[in-house]
């Protein structure tokens, strides 16, 4: 006889969710096994693949380095100096997150055709993704115990030396975690890189799929892409395992006395203005320009409304399904720890290494072979959303359930209340806010999802993202503008949510060590 027994139904529900989450990986894995090493080698060892590999790795490395430098520098300016209007600068520096990268790409390309290739992709992607580093670094700087820096000063270290020897090592998890997140986002990025005409694995897979439906070549490339993502994810996991708490002492937290910029104030302000103008001003100007003066601008209210309704309906369905799917996974992980629960929870995190393009491809092939009836239905699309965004829902719901400790169940049982009534009267009210937050995050992510939606949406279903894509890829920039504006508006609440938390890394990537 033992204590808490894992209910079989709960275990079955968790296992079903894990199996769904593993479909894309199983598809790629099965393919690799079936095709065999010789054919696989022929498909992979081609000059084209080498070029894509070079493009993808070079761009990812350059962007990760650039976002790391930019993110830390901006976070330091905002958090640790006497820069005027720091609060407002913080808002302005986070705001680019509300502009999906493909909208940003559109904004630049539509203004200046010369923005393309590696330089264009590097610039646009860096400006779109630096907040992924900036936000967690700011959060970490706020949490750092000022006593550590004060101790270093008292030992004779200068501000610069203290930053290098005391602060920077503690920022390492946030900094590297953010940079790895940039890498994962970049590997999955399709829209922006396609518009900027810089081929990577993701754009090439889509081209193969869209133009020739060359399943073998697309899947072989998907395999390489998944491998790249897994490398980054494993690096991230390893990094999080080493994470240390920032504050080591007790007592009230104080803020550090800000560094006086002195004569550097004007250049620092100038640098911030440049970043904000490039990351926010250019997309805003471009959008306004195409909305107001673009010759092809139209306001087809009916089409806009249809796309908005389709987006909202799909996002709502996806949010509800994904959040519900997260519940058994989280319940097992928090309340019934064990190897099975860990395996199930970790399975859902695999999606972190799966770009939308791979999930889309896998579900197209799997549905055609196994359940043709669901091919090109909303069901398949919602399943893809669930796979893609389960990690967000799991992380958020888990945070909520951790706040409802099992001892409250024990107390309720000791007061004569059975398991179901305890769930209704104690646990659900406590986790309701996190269920809501998880669903909201997933809703917002689905609203701007492009790649899987392009591949899987039922014929005739047009979302904001697909409508935007249809117009902008045909160079009808004015027609794309209203959809771009709506996509930005839809992204704003998620950005505000992220600003209030520890940053995007916490929201999307928090994998328990």
């Amino acid at each position: 006889m033992t204590g808490r027994r894992t209910p079989p139904l709960l275990l079955a529900a968790g296992a079903a969710v894990a199996l769904l989450a593993l479909v894309p990986l199983a598809y790629v894995g099965t393919y690799v096994v079936v095709i065999g090493p010789v054919d696989l080698w022929h498909l992979v060892a081609r000059p084209r693949i080498a070029e894509l590999l070079r493009n993808t790795i070079t761009l990812a490395a350059a962007c990760m380095a650039a976002t790391a430098v930019l993110g830390v520098a901006l976070a330091f300016l905002v958090e640790r100096t006497d820069l005027p209007g720091r609060r407002y600068w913080h808002g302005l520096l986070v705001a680019p997150l509300a502009v999906p990268a493909f909208v940003n790409g559109y904004a630049w390309v539509s203004l200046d055709r010369s923005v393309h290739g590696f330089a264009g992709a590097f610039g646009v992607v860096t400006l779109s993704y630096y907040p992924l580093v900036y936000l967690p670094v700011v959060a970490m700087l706020r949490r750092l115990d000022p006593a550590l820096e004060e101790s270093a000063w008292s030992l004779g270290h200068s501000r610069v030396r203290t930053f290098r020897s005391v602060v920077l090592p503690q920022l390492r998890p946030a900094l590297l975690g953010g940079a790895l997140l940039v890498g994962l986002h970049l590997l999955a990025e399709f829209g922006a890189l396609s518009l900027l005409r810089f081929p990577t694995f993701t754009t090439a897979i889509y081209d193969q799929y869209g133009s020739t439906f060359n399943g073998a070549a697309a899947t072989a490339m998907a395999g390489v892409l998944v491998l790249l993502c897994l490398v980054l994810l494993l690096a991230d996991l390893r990094l999080r395992g080493d994470r240390r708490y920032a504050r080591v002492g007790r007592g009230a937290a104080r803020s550090v006395v800000p560094l006086s910029l002195g004569s550097w104030r004007a250049p620092a302000l100038g640098a911030l203005v440049v970043v904000v103008v490039l990351a926010l001003g250019v997309p805003a100007y471009s959008l306004v320009k195409w909305l107001v003066v673009g010759t092809s601008t139209q306001f087809p209210v009916d089409d806009l409304t249809r796309a908005l309704v389709a987006t909202v309906v799909l996002a709502l369905a996806g949010a509800v399904v994904t959040t519900l799917a997260a519940v058994p996974v989280v319940w097992l992980a928090v309340r019934h720890r064990g190897w099975a629960s860990t395996l199930i929870e970790r399975s859902t995190y695999v999606a972190n290494a799966l770009p939308g393009i791979v999930v889309g491809l896998a579900l197209v092939v799997a549905s055609l072979r196994l359940v043709p009836a669901v091919y090109q239905t909303a069901t398949l699309l919602v399943a893809a959303y669930a796979i893609l965004f389960l990690p967000r829902a799991v992380v958020t719901v888990r945070a909520g359930l951790e706040q409802a400790p099992a001892v409250l169940d024990d107390v309720a049982h000791s007061l004569g209340v059975g398991p179901l009534a305890t769930a209704r009267r104690v646990t659900l009210p406590l986790i309701a806010p996190s269920l809501g937050a998880g669903a909201a995050l997933v809703f917002l992510a689905i609203s701007t999802e492009l790649t899987a939606t392009l591949m899987l949406s039922p014929i005739g279903t047009r979302t904001l993202a697909t409508e935007f894509w249809a117009a902008s890829s045909e160079l009808r920039y004015g027609a794309a503008a209203p959809y771009a504006l709506l996509l930005v508006l839809v992204s704003i609440p998620a950005t505000v949510l992220l600003m209030r938390t520890d940053g995007p890394a916490a929201q999307t990537q928090e994998v328990p060590a």
Binding site: G3, L408, D410, V411, S414, G416, V417, V426
Partner: protein, 351 residues
Amino acid sequence: MSSLTITGVTKRFGATVAVDDVSLHVPNGSFTTVLGPSGCGKTTLLRLIAGFLLPESGTIAFGDTVVAGDGVRPMPPQTRRVGYVPQEGALFPHLDVAANIAFGLDKGARGSDRVAEMLDLVELPADFRSRRPDELSGGQQQRVALARSLAPKPAVVLLDEPFSSLDASLRDSTSRAVRRALEASNTTGVLVTHDQNEALSLADEVAVMRGGRLVQSAAPSEVYLSPSDPQVAEFVGRAVVLPGTASEARATCALGEVVLTEPTEGEVSLMIRPEQVFVDLARDEPGKAVGVRGTVEEVSYYGHDCAVQVRLDDGTSVLSRMSGVRHPAAGDTVHLRVTGLVRAYRPAGTP
């Protein structure tokens, strides 16, 4: 309320035996503390009584009703009628005080004056009923947690180190209030703690656990004055344990001749409480001091009393506790003698 009887209960976690063949009887309406160091199995024992864990062997009975045991279908926690007060109180954070207290009451009784009655019992003002848990101090939260556990009139109340997170002054007042509330409601109670002062001052009976086993169960004064072995003596309060040689009702040791609680013979370990070691301040009348001579090494002053560490001339180190009004200083020469009866322990394995 009802009595609690635990018979031969064992609980393992993998290869670790957390509770090893424990038997304990808590009479109806009495209060027992289970005392032991961290990891001794006391919380596991409490969770077995509550039904959150099930024993491998042995039986647990409330009155005549066996709730878990060999060949008996275990009763789930929600039907055992136990009141459970965990560490930190664990109030439901989304409910106010009144809703917390009424949580275990039937729907019809939730609106009754039972909440006011319980608030009164735990000595909290009636206007606390609408407060949220985060508006209460640690001590107030513990009182509400007790009120919540008592509201459905449980058979037994189980308290799992409920005062450990409170600061010293709150701990005392809260534990007294809890004890009074349990007495007033005539409820059978079991408190687990690692705090010997708490265990001795609150309980009718103290059960001492070590390594999963129950090593002594007796009234607080008996556990303190006649601990079952030297390890219990050293865990329950400070003790000076010295080797000695016994002959009938007397024994000789580094502190001279002492009188034993019961006659014995041969080599023994003698357990002397520090307050039994009388310090004669030889500086007053150097020629007339009585006892074994030593030098004061360290004095820890607590106000009401002080602890004096003395190195005897033969090298033995002895602790004395004496009044804080008049005490020696480090380096003073003093004479020590033992007052009262001393407990002697024969070496393990000797009859």
